[in-house]
Amino acid sequence: MPELVLRRARRPAGDAEPGTPRRVRKGDGGPTKSEVRNPPPPRRGVAQRQDPLANGHGTTPLSVLKRVAKSHNLTDENYRHIVKTLGRQPTLTEVGIFGVMYSEHCSYCSSKLYLKTFPTAGARILVPAGKENAGVVDVGGGLAVAFKCESHNHPSAVEPVQGAATGVGGIIRDIFTMGARPVALFDSLRFGPLDGDARTAFLFEGVVKGISDYGNSVGVPTVGGEILFDPSYRGNPLVNVMCIGLLKKSELARGAARGIGNPVIYVGSSTGRDGLGGASFASRDLKDGDADRPAVQIGDPFTEKCLIEATLEALATGDVMGIQDMGAAGLTCSTCEMPSRGGTGIEIDVALVPRREEGMTPYEVMLSESQERMLLVARKGREQRVKDIFAKWGLSAVTIGRVTKGGRMRVMDGPTLVADIPVGALTTEAPVYRRPVRRPRYLATVQAERLKHLPQPRDLGEVLLKLLSAPTIASKAPVFEQYDHMVQTNTVVLPGRADAAVLRLKGTGSYLAATTDGNGRYCYLDPYEGGKAAVAEAARNLVCVGAEPLAITDCLNFGSPLDPEIMWQFKECVRGLSDACRAFATPVTGGNVSLYNQGAKGAIDPTPVVGMIGVITSGEPVTASFKREGDAVVLLGETREELGGSEYLLTIHGRKTGRPPRVDLEHERALHRVMLDAARQGWLASAHDCSDGGLAVTIAESCIMGDAEALGAAIEPSAAPVDAKAIEPSALLFGESVGRIVVSCERRYVEPLLALAAKHNVPAAAIGAVGGTRLRIGTWIDCPVEDLSDAWRHGLPRALGAV
């Protein structure tokens, strides 16, 4: 595997242990381990000069600097820019700092132009996107919610347990550094098909274990998320984690370094060589093999739990002026971002940083991504009080520097200056690229396929069973039962019971609802419609539980930005997301971008994942299962001949073609109004939106997903509102036309519900009744609910070969 050898050599200090036999080909362009670990000592006596680094790199040869730069994917142009900014050659440490800060992961260099087009303003927005570690939204009653979604795809692809675990840890820190107590976690996961591929099963089980180990220990309930399987994620799984935190509006904390002379305090775990250069790793294509394992961090949920408690306690004293997690790019990122936000400078001494390994160079200390560490700025003279709180929780807190004037980030190593960079050069003035875009060639072919000509399956009941047992649709209980989803005792709607998770806001009578959604297949077939669909689905899930949608966070997972076709997908998805967010008045509060999700087998389907929050201020949450014999079943929304991109097409016909369902944003908004009004009136016994698997799967799930005995139903789908006279049975039953919700209610509410729908121009019809032990749909399906339940409950374990 020559590629593996080459990559191993190119990762600075990426080798596991000193003494590991190096498999370096001569002249391959990478710095040697000894160059990074033991740079030649800087010349003595220079510290007294005006600019001690005026002569640049000391004795580090230029060729080494350029090789290190290259290992960080810095281009020649970047390098010239660095030299121009500094007015001299950079030091080795500076090259590392620029390298990680200019990485795609930290700088958003390819995506920034498009992210700027998101709607970010709104009456409820307390902290808008991009200003802090997470966005903050006013949820009423003096309370606010800090929430954010982040990806940990690359680490999870090489070391699923730790990759997923540290993904959870990182996003939790982004939330409590805002002064919010983390109250819920969501995991949006994508894997290749579970078709006997051992690697996929390994990744799947490892990711679930990582989330379980970390989330359970840290005491934040994992209450929702999604798990989808599609060939495009084989070898490149997606692990997106959303954390939601709750705070009093008055308790909001900031990530800025303010107050000249205030001490800069390092808190949490000591620094090791783990995760060295993780941000750069996340900013290029994945390759086969395990050579990147050293770039994956190791998580310690116990330390994280103590950090949460200590941080919230410290923030409550008012002696903490600013605080930021050391996530991607570690100490480097917090050291330059905090003064950037505060309009200040910073000076730190890496010699004071607590370490868990000997002989670490300033380069390594600045680039380590060891977990569970944070940087905070305390009020001068009050630092001991802050440190005492961390000591009480068994955490180290060490003053490593101070806030300075002049907007520079100066890094000392004892008496020696090793980096001196204007913070703006690393943050606000980091390069932004307008990458070439080109409409992908595959689109014309896949969209043109005539789906009408596909053979109609003879037994549509069999199709329904097959879809219910498809891992994407099947019950995820085997997974979420491995997550503690009840700790903190706010989870009033348990996972798998409704279209969104619902938490009570203790002492207010209100509820917070949240969901994560995204359909990569739709985005592959039409990135613009797919982007719209992700937001529309999330909002629909919220109104199904009776919650008013407020705001979103997003994780944008794509292939390489260097590919113009992928940049086009990105551009179009962002346009779709933006249009839907504008239509629903649900601004984007932040999130992240994960590019280079591709390996030898090509790029993943473009996959924006939307995390949306909403509130229920009056009425009780609505769940998805049928409740009573005799209740009427009402379908809201119109069914069209739309099989493109459906789970049916993939599972039954093995195709990922056609056009995905079209999203009518005006209709969706009207649907929201109908649902919220009906929920407040208390008319709805159940509500479940039509998504993967279409109408038949939605109704079947409402029969079987409750905690009580399954209930049958008799459905006459010909009564459903359709847009054309003739619609194929397969499209009627399994097509995924969006903007549809199946509700059940007492018979006496049917008339007012239909009148309410009519008032808002939402097509609606009573299509059947709940009852019995069989699900009957027209003349096509007649199946015992027991069989439906068996297929759905055991679909996932069977696919894993466990049953």
């Binding site: 379980s212 180990d213 359970n216 220990s217 840290v218 005491g219 310690d300 949920p301 116990f302 330390t303 739990k305 103590c306 408690e309 929780w393 068994g394 979420f480 039962e481 491995q482 997550y483 503690d484 989803h485 009840m486 700790v487 903190q488 005792t489 989870t491 009033v492 348990l494 009570r504 203790k506 002492g507």
Partner: protein, 221 residues
Amino acid sequence: MKFGVVVFPGSNCDQDCVHVVQDVLRQPVVTLWHQETSLRGCDAVVLPGGFSYGDYLRTGAIAHLAPIMQSIKSFAKDGGLVIGICNGFQILLESGLLPGAMLRNTGLRFICRSVPLRVERTDTPFTNRFQPGQVIRLPIAHNEGRYTIDAKSLNDVQRQVVFRYEGENPNGSIDAIAGITNARGNVLGMMPHPERASEDALGSTDGRLIFESMLEAHANA
């Protein structure tokens, strides 16, 4: 009745227990930091669930050495009411206040779900509000809940078994034991979480009866 909820670093159900005592039972409650030695006049002590000290060693193995545990041992010896839930149960086993030990679940996985339990005894300070043989539902959430004990001792402690898993045995506990007291009956350890089933909003109030039993026992003491 004053409750003390112990907080170890890594406890994560402490505030849930405080919430139930304070907002549901409407009784006074204090938290007891693991390094304290005073129980501050509490009438009952709750050892909550979580991952004390990370539980990187054996569950509860470090927690039982905490200063507060020495005070709790004397408190228990004097007949004080002590309830250990989940990790609290594991700590009580490690400290020798209860017989037996804990192993990893047979499925080698964390399990979080509501399970049926049979109340085996109603003459304890923790179960006097139940009917004999009553089947209740409480959530479990643990990775190491497989209770075990040697055969001879198992015979000896039969009368101390308070809760058994009904139907499916989720973690492989010997004799389906889910909760057990000491010989005197004033110390209870249980894997299920009563504090997660003490309010209608959470779908079950079966757990509240355990706390209310403690109130009753205290009132009659």
